[in-house]
Symmetry: none
DNA sequence: ACCGTGGTTAGCTTTC
DNA sequence: GAAAGCTAACCACGGT
């Protein structure tokens, strides 16, 4: 269960992406670990790219006159389950009345 | 304070372009806004999918004996390395421009 | 989902102070909640003040010729150094515990 | 204007907090810069402490049964200018009706 | 003087 | 239930 983690890549202090020489990965499980890490980093790159796309869409909308803040709120509202939203609002109202904010 | 309905694209000075939708979902810019919203929601779906992929990779790694917590920290440290390097370079540039070396 | 009115602390030890609002503010825990809210708002005021102090320091430094942007980056890098060091040590501990060296 | 920034602490790659020997700060303006940096870091420590206090208050409130999420929302609402809030809600309603969400 | 950008802070989700 | 990582909102600054 713990065999792989026993490989000590940390001892290399060498986390560069370019590193891929076949046997200096630190041990038996090192290459396999490195493979996972690379898959993870690849996915995170894609996620970052997607987030940039999102920003571009918002920017385009802003460019034709829409209010980005409002759009975000709209998207957020649409994502919210109607029931959940109602419950939260009810709870909020309750608290508000409790301190006389109604 | 400053935002008002004027942010609605239709209400702005209609330059060369004039309003195209004859009648829409309750407002002139509604269809256009809706189109943006849908693009946004599409991208967010993709992002969510990607995040699920990430979770799967971690789960798979865990399945073959790696320690997820350690992996996350490694990824994080690698990212910090990259950021630190980039930021240090930026700082150098700042200094250079500050003394007119650019 | 799980929150409901039951989270309202009904502990009604009516201490010295009693309800002053003309009509009951709607719940037993209202005063207590209000007390928390006020403590929170007090702390946030202090925080805001501190942030203004920070801005003043930067302004003063700028006034004698330092480059604010550079200073901010320096501070940031110094913070990163500390964090990186700490996290690396944590990672080491993780590895050690992973192979039973703790 | 640029005299001070010409001191190159970066070239030392030595941003440790402990560093304070009187004359190796890198140049004429170095000590002065260091003094500013220390003032800044001191203020940021205080700010961090304040933020921890805040967390403690929330934790205490939670401990006696209040819902932290709701409390945060309350504080946020109270901070909001009534006018601004009304305007924003009006705008939101407008957008919502524009896409038929009303 | 305004817009765009980057950095900071707060809130939310997920993890342990 | 606590802690951390991630995401989103906010704000101040510099450029144009």
């Amino acid at each position: 269960m713990t065999e792989n983690v026993a490989t000590f890549p940390v001892s290399e202090d060498n986390h560069d992406k370019q590193e891929q020489s076949p046997k200096d990965t630190g041990g038996i499980g090192g290459q396999r670990l490195m493979s996972f890490i690379e898959r993870i980093e690849r996915l995170e790159e894609e996620k970052t790219a997607l987030m940039e796309d999102l920003k571009e869409v918002y920017a385009e909308a802003k460019g034709v006159g829409f209010d980005v803040k409002v759009m975000r709120k709209l998207v957020s509202l649409r994502k919210m389950d109607a029931e959940k939203r109602r419950e939260t609002e009810e709870l909020l109202d309750l608290y508000k009345s409790a301190i006389g904010m109604m």
